[in-house]
Symmetry: D2
């Protein structure tokens, strides 16, 4: 028995669940989990995630894929089929802070996350030793404000075709719209949760001066022109006046690790849909 | 347009979701939310909760109910239909501590919980004034260890036929198996989360002496012969050595309110299934 | 034995703790708890909260108060003495939403909070019945944008001299700087935690559209000219795409109750110091 | 300027804080933080942690140490002085699961924790590569039930004199009372928080079968004859029926990392006192 995941996105109408699950039955699949969500009772968008088992010897992948391709046309939407055994290929971009990189590499080494870190690109060499310890290739591309176009071209060459998504694991360079369009796949970022407060440099110092009692970290998709694209995951923690700016940073690092790991797990299990400026995350 | 909830429980097999959602389509219902869960990939039990809208002028309730009655037979399980507009009738049993009672009554007064408190029975008069402030009948049945059979008979007379479930909101008398069988509906209890530790009297004093760093409250179904039946909801909070036993009790009261309110909301929205010694709670 | 709380605020210098605790020893007091905090290692401000027992028959209150008055001069700061048995007198301002009012009144009735609700002022009558159920006077002062000066004068007359602080328990009118200066004591407010995001009306609808994964509530001091004065307490909760705007509001109400109760408890136990735009809250 | 930490433990009596802080003043130290706690208002034990700066050129360490040694006698208790710059030397014992080991090593490499991992002992080779990546010596001592005495002798030889405490980072062998007495210093363990429920093997499977809605991890001191010695830290997380036993284990690993890191940080900063079967942890 193998298993597959189907993601459906289309305009809502009556009978959709019966139609889609009926197709799985017809393909002799056995549904393991099904989640669906409609953004609005009237004229909304319909999202569905289906996980099902089947015997490919009886129902070949070609037949499954063409069945869902036909369904896409019928529903005027999009049905994507993913074979469960194929891990997501992730490229990580990193600068000098390596806590998120270290956490993802370790979790991957345990087999916790259904993904494979294909390569790491750093604009500083700080992450090299740890990356190579885990047997993952590390490429130094010393991006700065001044060589942005050239650096992005080098990164693009490394990650195009070899990765299914990029993770900015405390990568401190802005990616241009040109890069995002050329790459054409999802890019996930992680940062503190104070936005739109405490923009710019030294956010934890600013938060400390303001006396916040809760800090947080947000994992989100990168969208051109938005400070913060659709939010995938947020993690929060209570703090007090006893936590100085260094303590806030230290706790912030842990929150960033937790939020990124949780977002990546949901994403790699195909549980995340983008819908405008928000997301639907099936738990 | 009216709406209805269908709860399905049956042995798992291929094609169930398609079969059930297909029936809703055939009845011209429009599915708003659907949740399902299978306890085990092989030989498991299947649970489904469906919420759908329909025009009863076109599809009468009789036809809907008989369609799902027939489906129950077909699936060798149980399909129950609930009309959304009909609130759950709740009976509350209380002793001297009224924090859970006060919280449920206030939330009901806001229309937050899709339920109606039909009556309150106290074995002490402490809850009377607040109950009557909210216009709910209060009955004093001074149960003790010595008059258990008589007190339970009085309670049963009050709650049979007038309530769909009972809530023990810090009710400090044990209910006998005879009572539970005679009542025949769900009974929900709330207590601290230390079980099986710190049994008996003065649990917060015991927890304080042991130096726990987290306290909690559990809402669960009452099952004959079990200290703690299937868990519906748990709420937890960090504490420190600075919290004395009084502080633990105070924080425990808030946790009990939160866990009970959350469990009751899920239960009244028909999101809770019992499965042996555990529950499935669709969020 | 009676007990007292002393709050000290002065420029930091060597030997302060020894000096202050030495004075308590000299007054034959026995320190129960002591907390202190210095805002900066160089040139910072020093804050201390001391709770001590003493026998007033041996050491009269007059002597204690004049000793700390002299210490204030010596330290070029401020030492305030509070007798523990004297509850804080709180005035509550409320509009149509009564969840925070109900929670504070109930907790007061349990004796949980070391405070006494002296009176409630509403610009709508919604809170009257519950307030009077707890035996607290309710005054209707129908404030709107158009009669602000007159309404504030009426409120001021009610709360001056009869209250030690005001709580805005979802009071939807802005208080003017004139009012705040004339009242001259602390005013505590409670609202959602999204500021500076989602300002103005319908914050939960805005948060829902943005797809936040965490919501929160903040209790803070009201400061003229600031949207949000020094933060006393924040409470947060995870939410998902399944929570519509109504669910966010419902959960937000619970967070507002929790954050306000926690802030009020700390404040009434004299655990809160204001320091510029932040607070020090000794736990 | 250097800084020092003093830990005091003695029978409570009037004037203690003034006496101790007065001594620091006399030594020309400047107190940075001070925490104290009395276990009971009558006949309790007094615990204090003081952090102060001083110029050793003016006040030599010898003089400081002899001053506090004299104070110990005076107070009939114990005063210990620690120079802040000297890191705690930690020995880690590990078996096959390396998540806690990896987390501590990485945090140490960031300089987050004021400690130095002196060595790692494994009864399996699984932790070797990662340990050596961080430049820490790894010793394989293949302990089983059958060679306990011999294995413990080997471990003791490695850790005596070279470590200030031991951390059992998912070390799956029991340490005997003989070993604990011979080592004579603190041993910290980390495990799931279900005790006394779900003892023995496969706790997460048991918790899953029981349908718990919250899981947790506990870091505690190892005490001979107790399943769980004094608790230092607990971390908890909500789970649902959708989390199978594998998901509980995965989330449990993260909780174990968080609880151990937090406990170790507090311990290394000398914030933890043992008091019978509980702890006092100054935050």
């Amino acid at each position: 028995m193998e298993s597959a995941i189907v993601l459906v996105r289309c305009p809502d109408r009556k009978g959709l669940i019966a139609r889609i699950t009926g197709l799985v039955s017809w393909l002799e699949g056995n549904i393991v989990t099904a989640d669906q969500y409609t953004t609005s009772p009237e004229g909304g968008s319909f999202y569905m995630r289906l996980e099902f088992c089947l015997e490919p010897s009886r129902t070949g992948w070609d037949r499954i894929e063409s069945a869902f391709a036909a369904l896409s046309v019928e529903l005027q939407g999009e049905c994507r089929v993913y074979r469960s055994g194929v891990p997501l290929r992730v490229g990580i971009l990193v600068s000098r802070q390596t806590h998120c990189l270290a956490d993802v590499l370790f979790r991957q080494s345990l087999g916790e996350l259904p993904l494979q870190v294909a390569l790491v690109v750093g604009n500083h060499p700080d992450g090299r030793a740890l990356t190579e310890h885990y047997g993952v290739p590390f490429h130094l591309v010393p991006a700065t404000r001044d060589n942005r176009a050239e650096a992005e071209a080098q990164i693009l060459e490394r990650v195009s075709g070899t990765t299914d998504c990029l993770v900015l694991a405390r990568y401190m360079q802005v990616l241009t719209g040109d890069f995002l369009r050329a790459y054409g796949r999802d890019v996930i970022n992680i940062h503190h949760s104070f936005l739109p407060s405490f923009k710019g440099a030294r956010p934890y110092e600013q938060a400390w001066e303001r006396g916040v009692k809760v800090i947080g970290a947000t994992a989100h998709f990168v969208s051109e022109g938005l400070d913060e694209g659709p939010i995938i995951e947020q993690q929060v923690l209570r703090v007090s006046h006893r936590d100085d700016a260094e303590a806030l940073k230290r706790k912030g690092r842990t929150l960033e690790q937790l939020a990124l790991a949780s977002a990546l797990e949901a994403y790699a299990r195909r549980r995340v849909f983008r819908h405008g400026i928000r997301t639907i995350v099936f738990e």
